[in-house]
């Protein structure tokens, strides 16, 4: 029963480090999801825009980010952000030392931009599901654009988008495993460090897997009840 010893809390084992890393994973996922949702507002607006150029920008964003491996996006943004900040600092302030942004920030931004592309698709899809007739009906009873948006579109879009956004959350959670390459100590990085110094890779990667399973299962439970809440009052045929 060596693994119990290895995973114990305190100085002897790695249990507390793994739990702390889990907190980091949760924090990065939540920040990334929020960044993603924020990005997806603009993504949706631009993809539904009547202006061809703006629409093209939105389409390029979702196509490129969803068509490139997540690992590459993270690498690109990780190095790209740092390079960009350095060249800005250099040209504006003549500062030519090496600058590194906080890893957490880069990680959350990188995963957030990935998650935003998927959220954009989900929210755009939800907007398109709302029947046109409802919008016309709302206008015909004299609602202005804001009221149509607030009273007719938003309540339905949120309900339609919820299952899809739940999937995006699960995806985001799993994508945070890739930010181990940036050096941020989340679950994967911690498992990597621990297995390196104890020669027990299976123990630690298996605990990492179990921690992810706990996170994904707990969130799918939470998402289910959120969906039930959002759908209360809506009659649904039994699937």
């Amino acid at each position: 029963m060596e693994f119990i010893h290895l995973l114990s809390l305190g100085d002897q084992g790695w249990g507390d480090e793994m739990l702390r890393a889990t907190m980091v994973t949760i924090m990065v996922s939540i920040s990334a999801m929020c960044i993603g949702l924020f990005v997806s507002i603009f993504g949706t607006i631009s993809k539904l825009s009547k202006n061809r150029l703006i629409r093209a920008i939105g389409n390029t964003y979702t196509t490129v980010v969803r068509g490139i491996p997540e690992l590459l996006v993270i690498y690109l943004l990780y190095f790209g952000f740092n390079n960009a900040i350095m060249s800005i600092a250099n040209s504006l302030f003549g500062y030519n030392q090496y600058i590194e942004l906080p890893v957490f920030l880069i990680a959350a931004l990188a995963v957030g931009i990935i998650s935003g592309a998927y959220s954009t698709e989900v929210i755009r899809g939800a907007f398109l599901v709302v029947p046109r007739g409802q919008i016309e009906a709302a206008k015909s009873v004299g609602m202005n654009r804001f009221l149509v948006f607030y009273r007719v579109l938003i309540p339905q879009v949120l309900r339609y988008a919820l299952p899809g956004l739940g999937n995006v959350w699960q995806l985001t959670l799993k994508d945070t495993a890739l930010i181990m390459v940036t050096g941020l100590v989340e679950i994967m990085r911690q498992a990597h460090i621990a297995s390196g110094s104890t020669y027990s890779p299976f123990t630690f990667y298996m605990s990492a897997a179990i921690l992810y399973l706990v996170l994904t299962t707990a969130s799918s439970k939470a998402l289910n009840s959120a969906e039930n809440w959002a759908n209360k009052g809506v009659k649904r045929e039994k699937a």
């Binding site: 590459l72 299976f202 990667y205």
Partner: protein
């Protein structure tokens, strides 16, 4: 065609990107495509057979088979692909039992570990896609096939599977793209596919943005081809479901 000649004619730097170096490393990065395609093709085909078995186990009605297939899908869909790859490549080496067994030559190779992890991963996702397809077959179709005297394999071959595959086609297309992207993760266990080669070049010249950009464009192009192929298949097999966009 001599690419060196073209590369030299380019400006050395443009918009802060080392354009000449990007052009120079293009052939090297392109040489990673065969391995990427190979990994995708092998894991998708074995994964598909695996997924068929898992999906059939799930709807078999046997409780034990149901639990086995559910746990399999639960595990592989609930954990990141990276964990699965590391667990197989680094993790299994922890056990002397495996190190001394006849399986070791297999688990020692990053290539086979990568293929195994990718296969098991796509197997779980594809099983869910197939299950969804099978469940979408309208009951009336099965009943009418039965009333014509079809049963068992014939019923599956002529009615259920064709309808299910057509339903599952778009979702499977997404899974294929996920797999193309997933192969980039095996670069972390030393395989020299596109991302692996990119990391190798970067270790030499330290131009991460330039090289990853080119690598990203190559992946984008592969995925573009995959979507075209899937779209073609959709038009061919489900023309009645297509909208004229």
């Amino acid at each position: 065609m001599n690419i060196d000649g073209i590369c030299i004619s380019l400006p050395k730097e443009y918009l802060g990107l080392k354009v000449q170096l990007m052009c120079d490393s293009l052939p090297k990065l392109l040489s990673g495509i065969p391995l990427t395609i190979e990994l995708v093709a092998i894991s998708l085909s074995i994964g598909f057979i695996l997924a068929m078995c898992i999906a059939l186990m799930r709807i078999s009605g046997s409780r034990l088979l149901n639990i086995v297939s559910r746990s399999y899908v639960f595990y592989f869909r609930g954990t990141p692909l990276l964990v699965q790859i590391f667990l197989i490549y680094y993790g299994l080496a922890q056990f002397d039992l495996i190190k001394e067994s006849f399986l070791w030559p297999f688990f020692r190779e990053a290539y086979w570990c990568g293929i195994l992890a990718l296969t098991l991963n796509t197997g779980a996702y594809t099983a869910e896609i197939i299950r969804g397809g099978l469940q979408s077959v309208p009951h009336g179709q099965i009943e009418s096939a039965r009333s014509m005297g079809m049963s068992g394999i014939l019923l599956y071959r002529r009615v259920i599977l064709p309808i299910a595959f057509r339903q599952a086609l778009p979702a499977y297309g997404n899974e294929m793209i996920l797999m193309v992207k997933g192969t980039s993760l095996v670069s972390t266990i030393t395989l020299m596919e596109i991302t692996g080669i990119a990391r190798h070049i970067i270790a030499k010249y330290w131009t991460p943005v330039e090289i990853f950009l080119i690598a990203g464009i190559i992946y984008l192009f592969i995925n573009y081809l995959v979507t075209r192929i899937v779209r073609y298949a959709e038009n061919r097999y489900t023309p009645y479901l297509q909208t004229n966009e």
